[in-house]
């Protein structure tokens, strides 16, 4: 069964290779071993305290595994600095939304686009060098400046600011926050904030997008909408790792599911298969709230 799946979805993007994580005497992750393949939506589920977020944090560099390693695109990532991991192509959202509250929605996303930009501090200071060519849409409107830019090119800072703004607006439109782009993040309604966080993460141009309980606090209609969004994200060529509580959401959208309980992997397979797994059923019976 696993063999056929692998052949369907191509190469492995992220590999969690027998990872164990201990805090003092507590074993948070015990020999967890799974992988994500390019272009799939993987669900990582488990009851509260199963170690989902811990696993997630290990993948994004917050914790360093005690044993085993995590490889992304063939590169070791365990123990790297968070911004290096972002540069490699992993982006994430937070379970308890962590936007930059005093920045506008647009600025929040632009922080994300900056991750791929090359403007240095000196470049931003002097705006002289290096110079690049840009498309006509990005040229300044003022006629004199336009002519100058056509002859000498524009500074990279200018080009990247323009491109960043355009990309950010595009992403805001994609997640449906564009209508309130210039409002402060903290003034946005809850659903907007969740989606804004996804846009901000996508702005870093990741290969793998990790969503940490993105549907928490949503009503069923919003959840439905979110599932559509996640599929659309995958259709843009991103691989998605979805950590979720809500089985129904996970079942509806994921290609494959990994189930954790007490820091140990108890199941790994396609949704229908996992749903029938007696261990998984047992684990979830202990927590009736999650059925909702």
């Amino acid at each position: 069964m696993t063999d056929t799946l692998e052949s369907q979805a191509g190469e492995v993007l992220l590999e969690v290779d027998h990872v164990t994580l201990r805090f003092g005497g507590v074993v948070a992750l015990n020999d967890v071993d799974f992988h994500i393949k390019k272009g799939e939506i993987l669900g990582l589920i488990g009851p509260n305290g199963a170690g989902k977020t811990t696993c997630f944090n290990a993948m994004t560099g917050v914790y360093r595994p005690t044993e085993g390693e995590i490889r992304f695109d063939g590169q070791q990532i365990s123990g790297r600095k968070p911004h290096h991991i972002t540069a490699l192509g992993i982006a994430r959202t937070f379970q308890n939304i962590r936007l930059f509250p005093e920045m506008t929605a647009l600025e929040n996303v632009m922080v994300g686009t900056d991750a791929r930009h090359k403007t240095s501090v000196l470049g931003a200071l002097f705006k002289v060098w290096p110079r690049v060519r840009v498309d006509d849409v990005d040229l300044p409107r003022n006629r004199v400046k336009r002519a100058f830019s056509q002859t000498f090119g524009v500074s990279r800072h200018y080009a990247e600011e323009r491109a960043g703004r355009r990309v950010a607006m595009g992403l805001l439109r994609f997640v449906g926050v564009a209508d309130r782009a210039n409002e402060l993040a903290k003034n946005l309604p809850y659903g907007y904030q969740r989606r804004l966080e996804i846009a901000r993460a996508m702005a870093t141009e990741p290969k793998l997008l990790c969503l940490d309980e993105p549907a928490a606090g949503f009503n069923p209609a919003e959840k439905e909408e979110l599932m559509g969004l996640i599929r659309k994200i995958r259709d843009r060529g991103l691989t998605v790792l979805l950590i979720e509580h809500d089985m129904r959401l996970v079942m509806g959208v994921t290609d494959r599911i990994v189930v954790l309980e007490f820091g140990t992997k108890i199941a790994d397979g396609v949704p229908s298969e996992v749903a029938r797994n007696p261990k998984v059923i047992a684990a979830y019976l202990g927590e009736p709230d999650d059925a909702a």
Binding site: T60, K81, P82, H83, T86, A87, A91, R92, F94, R98, L99, F100, P101, E102, M103, E107, M110, V111, G112, D114, A115, R116, H117, T119, V121, A124, L125, K127, H157, E160, E161, G164, L184, K186, R200, A201, T204
Partner: protein, 381 residues
Amino acid sequence: MPEISELWKSVNLRERWETAPTWVRMIVSGILLAIAIYLPFLNVLPFAYIRTDLSTGGSDWSGVLTTIVIYMIVATGLNVVIGMAGLLDLGYVGFYAIGAYSLALFGSPDSPVTHWFADKFGLSEGWSVPFVACVPIAIAIALAAGVVLGAPTLRLRGDYLAIVTMGFGEIIRIISRNANGLTNGPNGITNVPTPPGPKDPDTGQPFFNPIDGYRWYWLCLAVLILLIWLVRRLEYSRVGRSWLAIREDEDAAAVMGVSGFKYKLWAFAIGAAVGAIAGLLFGSKQTFVEPTGFALNLSFLFVAMVVIGGSGNMVGALFGAFLITYLPERFRGLSDWRPFCFGVALVLVMILRPQGLIPNRRRARELEDRRLEAEEVATDD
């Protein structure tokens, strides 16, 4: 009284400024600049009452203006560190001293350093590095000092950073006082060079001399405007966004690919360079530097300038620098009561207007939120 403050609110200058068309803004800026340039010659009553040299024992007005502008440069630099990057630097006077001393050590024919060079390379008596060459030297030394101080300490939490920077400021002062062979020790260094310019044909005085104080004022004003322009560029770029993101939520910023350490270090280094430029102008204007001019309380004064004006807001920081430098000069009549009044004023301003006199909008909102939050907690009880 409430009417007055209501009236002020209804005028809503900030909103008007921000929504005004570009040409209005340019004209208003031009007028403000013209007033600033004209200020040293202001002699029309009643406006001339703002001059400091009309009262008995008052200071030269151009000299005071120059000092104000130099401290405004300091506030601009410190605002990058405190206001934008959110790092508490209590040793900023160290960079100010580095700027002044770099100029003195390399530019003055009286300094042990130039003597050493002259001896070593058989240069003529009275040889020294020209002023123009000293400027990049001073900036480079300050940048290096900023990096040397920042690299090991920026990983520390905020309050630890405060004490370490404070120690740095003291170390700079003590070294300049104790290292007799390098800095002339407590006697200081005389004959610090002034910027080049055509000599006065009548008196033979250099172009930048203390009597024609307005020239110094204009020079410092030009430097200030240049620096503000550059800092604003940073503020509205990837760099400014990164600083803001770090200030708001450092972990989230890291996950978004912002290297907190790198940008903090940059903020530190930029602040250091700006502080050094201010110190360099100070030393040059004074033509004399000595260690007691860089005492620890000057650092506190600098921080007070930024905070009282409105942390994170450039206009606020400039206004704070203006008030803190100008008022003690204007009210010389209070003499020994000035520090007391200053203390009372600091406490009152902070209690009545914790967001600063001209706050950063973001900061003001942040503060308002915190206040509301506190009130909610209080009513919950």
